[in-house]
């Protein structure tokens, strides 16, 4: 209980520190920013560049458009829309990553051949990739269901999410000491048994950090994918839509950014909860 209380206090404290830093810099910083040798090294602090935290918060309560839904509701709905792409992309990406890791662990030659491509895949810039994926998607249909724009976003999320899992799990599956592997061999355990009884349990310390990275990557992938392909409904689209109004309503775009950040935190929390539950079960077992 005490630990949980401390955790909650820590969370609230972190938010307060963030707010204090924002408002503190806004209070002391030069309204026109700090320019060194012609390059602005510190951002401007005027209300258009850095609206007050309370301006952004109160903007959440105001309607998005005259007579429309309040912004908090619009942003929440957008986050839930994006969450679908994130969740499917994350789960599918984790499975793909896991599969690749097992394959690479099983066959040395696959590891040698595949690993460079796995790494190469992450050096392709997203803005080049997103229209291509959206383009392929337009030609596909899953059985009777036509391809939906959010599915392209899901694929982009998957594309970013599989990487940390593939690399982390490969490391995890290779982590058991040779002596443990030899023990399994002495039991005449086959590859599958060794995988299930030894390698997978041994890889959990590698799995969860990898999953956290994958979750963050899936959120980034989904938001950037939505921005790039203009997919309607998600929080990435809101960021673009609201940024166009930044001339007259600078707080609005921050509401969408707060929403995107909250989405990332929520997904990270879900992964953390999963880790907590798995850890507890293992302790009991």
């Amino acid at each position: 209980m005490n630990r949980r209380l401390r955790l909650a206090l820590g969370g609230v404290g972190a938010v307060l520190v963030g707010v204090a830093l924002w408002e503190g810099y806004k209070a002391v910083g030069d309204p026109d920013g700090t320019v060194l040798f012609g390059a602005r090294v510190l951002p401007r602090t005027d209300d258009a560049a850095m609206p007050h935290v309370w301006t952004v918060l109160s903007r959440f309560g105001d309607p998005e458009l005259a007579g429309g839904d309040p912004i908090w509701l619009v942003v929440l709905q957008a986050c839930l829309f994006t969450l679908r792409s994130v969740a499917i992309g994350f789960v599918a990406g984790a499975l793909v990553g896991l599969l690749l890791a097992v394959l690479m662990q099983r066959l040395r030659v696959v590891e040698r051949g595949l690993l460079p491509y796995v790494i190469l895949s992450q050096t392709v810039p997203l803005i080049a990739l997103a229209p291509v994926i959206a383009g392929w998607g337009g030609r596909l249909a899953i059985g009777p269901y036509p391809w939906q724009p959010w599915m392209s976003v899901t694929v982009i999320a998957l594309y970013l999410a599989f990487f940390p899992v593939a690399v982390g799990m490969l490391r995890g599956l290779q982590s058991p000491a040779p002596i443990a592997e030899e023990l399994m061999r002495s039991y005449a355990a086959g590859w599958w048994r060794t995988l299930v009884k030894l390698r997978l349990p041994a890889s959990t310390p590698y799995l969860f950090p990898a999953l956290r990275l994958a979750a963050a990557a899936a959120v980034v992938g989904a938001v950037v994918g939505e921005i790039s392909t203009g997919t309607r409904g998600g929080v990435g689209r809101l960021v673009i839509e609201y940024s166009r109004e930044a001339t007259t309503d600078p707080a609005k775009v921050f509401t969408a950014m707060v929403g995107a950040a909250a989405l990332g935190l929520a997904v990270a929390a879900i992964v953390g909860l999963g880790e907590f539950l798995v850890g507890r079960r293992r302790v009991r077992a």
Partner: protein, 377 residues
């Protein structure tokens, strides 16, 4: 090694199997419900007043009258409509002529079949106090532009005025908003008459506490400077144009679209409401301004809406071949080859509309005076 080949072969076979299972939706699906033809239209950007005519045609049932079931696909930051069209994922696309011609030179097989915007809507806006009244005054200034092919008219004007865009001005990459100009990070900013210019007039002048007045700004209008290029046009897939049914669809699509634009000319408020209903996130007064300004680009249309004016086309092509960008490249290296544009389909579409007594010239068109509210609400 042999084992590896077998594994690879199996993987290939498996992925091929999965792809065929997915099936392609590439083949045209000529008949939808009730014998209508399904048509996909790719826009350059999100739904907004700039596309009011197509939205009106869809939501007022003009496409349905022509037996078309039109799906409007929104654009995005990295969506290039002419590429989507050339790849076959849309039947028609809206794109600016110079950008589309550049894609064409790189191999996209597309044809302009209807020049909806007869005029250019691009301005270069500066504070009146900066005294930038002609392109030559841009010398030594910080000149904002969006890049990605939206800056050709500006570069053409600077070249015409004897400036080297790469050396004589400081080029600044502009954001989606106009804060750069208002904070004077940029001396002259690019703005569309129907969008960013309105954003300026929706912003409060900190000196007076009132909204900025048009007198506060100087506008360089490329139509007046003689470097305007053709903008929003309807592009079709060139190779599919040899197909009779696609030709018929093109005529019907143009007829219904132009009817939509005529509807928006006569009912700007109704069109604003249609755009808002389609989920545009921009405010109501901003949206009405946008419909009204877009109307000015379409109407009046002496030769008939959508007809490609040969002189304007030639001017656009010439500017595209002679204007150098910041890297010294021209938009086009040679004159467009093949069927770059045709008036065949739009003329047939106009005949259809004239027989329905639709005014396709808009000779008596008078734009409204729209009052913008703060933030465009």
């Amino acid at each position: 090694m042999r084992k590896l080949i077998r594994v690879a072969g199996a993987a290939l076979a498996l992925s091929a199997l999965m792809l065929t299972a997915c099936g392609t939706a590439d083949e045209p699906t000529p008949s939808g419900a009730g014998g209508t033809t399904k048509v996909k239209l790719q826009l350059q950007w999100f739904v907004q007043g700039q596309f009011a005519g197509y939205i009106a045609a869809a939501d007022q049932g003009f496409y349905r009258e022509q037996g078309l079931d039109v799906e409007i696909l929104e654009g995005g930051v990295d969506i290039v409509p002419q590429t989507v069209l050339a790849q076959g994922q849309a039947d028609f696309a809206i794109a600016w002529v110079p950008k589309a011609l550049a894609s064409r030179e790189q191999g996209a097989e597309i044809t302009n079949i209807g020049q909806i915007f007869q005029r250019s809507g691009t301005y270069q806006v500066s504070f009146a106090s900066s005294n930038i009244t002609s392109p030559a005054d841009l010398r030594g200034k910080k000149v904002g532009n969006w890049g990605f092919g939206n800056e050709f008219e500006l570069f053409a004007a600077m070249t015409k005025a004897g400036l080297d865009p790469g050396k004589d001005v400081t080029l600044v990459q502009q954001q989606f908003d106009m804060q750069g100009l208002l904070r004077k990070d940029i001396d002259a900013a690019q703005a569309m008459s129907y969008n960013e210019y309105a954003q300026l007039l929706e912003a409060k002048d900190p000196a007076t506490g009132q909204l900025y007045k048009p007198e506060a700004f100087t506008v360089l209008d490329w139509n007046k400077e003689g470097t305007a290029m053709l903008q929003d046009a309807v592009w079709a897939n060139t190779s599919k144009l040899s197909d009779q049914s696609y030709q018929d669809t093109a005529v019907k699509f143009l007829a219904a679209s132009i009817k939509g634009w005529a509807y928006c000319r006569d009912n700007p408020e109704a069109c604003r409401d249609l755009v808002v209903k389609r989920g545009s996130k921009l405010g109501a007064s901003h949206q009405l301004w946008q419909v009204n300004e877009t109307n000015k680009l379409v109407w009046p249309s002496p030769a008939g809406a959508g007809v490609i004016d040969e002189a304007a086309w030639k001017a656009t092509v010439d500017l595209s071949m002679t204007t150098k960008n910041a890297d010294g490249q021209t938009v086009l290296t040679k004159a467009p080859e093949g069927l770059a544009y045709t008036n065949d389909y739009v003329r047939k579409a106009l005949d259809t509309l004239k027989s329905q007594n639709v005014d396709v010239n808009g000779t008596g068109f008078t734009p409204k005076t729209v009052t913008l509210n703060e933030g465009g609400v």
